[in-house]
């Protein structure tokens, strides 16, 4: 009978543990179901030259990053100088997908070309997703988002929000090295 006194206490401790774990997690960061699955296929016009297209298939056999961004995205501006810095080391090709919501009536393509001219271009290739379909296929909901794709075209890592130097050093670079072996 006396032992039962500790049951509520133990239950309370479990509850506190759950709440503590919950506090440390960012509820906005939804785990992607695409991790360790084949990256969605896409073929999009190039940003600077709409007549030419680029396809995810072109990157087969390479480890690469695909970064979803837009000139309307504030956090992308914060991330951009870091990307320019990472690109200098040439560790992994970064493909940029400039995307636009269909309700956005501005000339995103022109704004993006201006953005890259002014702030530097970290992308080995930039494509333009005019109706946001490719971004939806990748499950992008909070730009910037970045996916690391391996030689077989499988998504290995996803970053929601800016690729900070910590994430780059501790997660992206070690994974790139491992996948390139």
């Amino acid at each position: 009978m006396k032992k039962l006194v500790f049951v509520p206490l133990a239950l309370f401790a479990v509850l506190v543990a759950f709440l503590l774990i919950g506090l440390r997690r960012d509820p906005r960061e939804v785990p992607s179901p695409l991790i360790n699955k084949a990256a969605p296929a896409f073929q999009l016009p190039q940003l600077q030259d709409p007549a030419k297209t680029f396809s995810a298939q072109d990157m087969r056999g390479k480890v690469w990053l695909v970064n979803f961004w837009g000139t309307w995205c504030i956090a992308c501006r914060e991330e951009h100088p870091w990307l320019v810095e990472y690109a200098k080391a040439n560790a992994v090709p970064i493909v940029g997908v400039d995307y636009k919501y269909s309700s956005d009536t501005s000339d995103e393509r022109a704004a993006a070309i201006r953005w890259l001219a002014e702030l530097g271009n970290p992308y080995s290739m930039t494509v333009y997703d005019a109706d946001g379909r490719t971004s939806i296929d990748f499950g992008v909901y909070g730009a910037p988002e970045t996916f690391l794709i391996d030689k077989q075209g499988v998504i290995r890592f996803k970053q929601i929000g800016p690729l900070t130097p910590e994430v780059w050093q501790n997660k992206v670079l070690p994974l790139v090295k491992q996948l390139n072996q």
Binding site: L4, R28, P33, L34, S102, D131, I136, G139, Y141
Partner: protein
Amino acid sequence: MTARRTNSECLRVSFVSLWLNSSIGHSPQRHREPQRRTKILLSIAALLGLGFLPAVHAQVARPIEDPAIEARMKHLTKELRCLVCQNETLADSQAPLAEDLRREIREQIKAGKSDSEILAYATQRYGDFVLYNPPVKATTYLLWFGPFVLLIGGTALLYRYVKRRRDLIEAEPLTVEERQRAEKLLKEM
């Protein structure tokens, strides 16, 4: 970090509340210049109005859709969460992403896809989190059955406790003396 990533569509409400707070706030300078304050408030209101203009425009420009398709879409999007404004369903959200997803769903309905195919389309991209009604599987057993386990466990504990108390009372009946004292006390009342 989180706040910076929040979509501007969700932020509008907080802008309005910020503006209200600042106009109520105790700033002696502002009280001395009521005209200037009104001007500022009016211009902020105008700016907020401007923000709404593109959305209104988009709604007017959209062609009238088949009511049957719209009804099905409404039913489906009520089941789905908007990941930009996570407290809203896809049916209610004004976020541009929600608008594009509604467009995708509308097109899939027109293409003859079933409801379960469309829900699968959403979960393949955004995970089970988009479903307001999460599926029953190993990772959600605790969520679905936890409350019932607690209820049954709690009832069992309560039953045991009550039964034990009853056994205790029956094990020690009153002696003749005690009974007489009790009856006397009851009479005095």
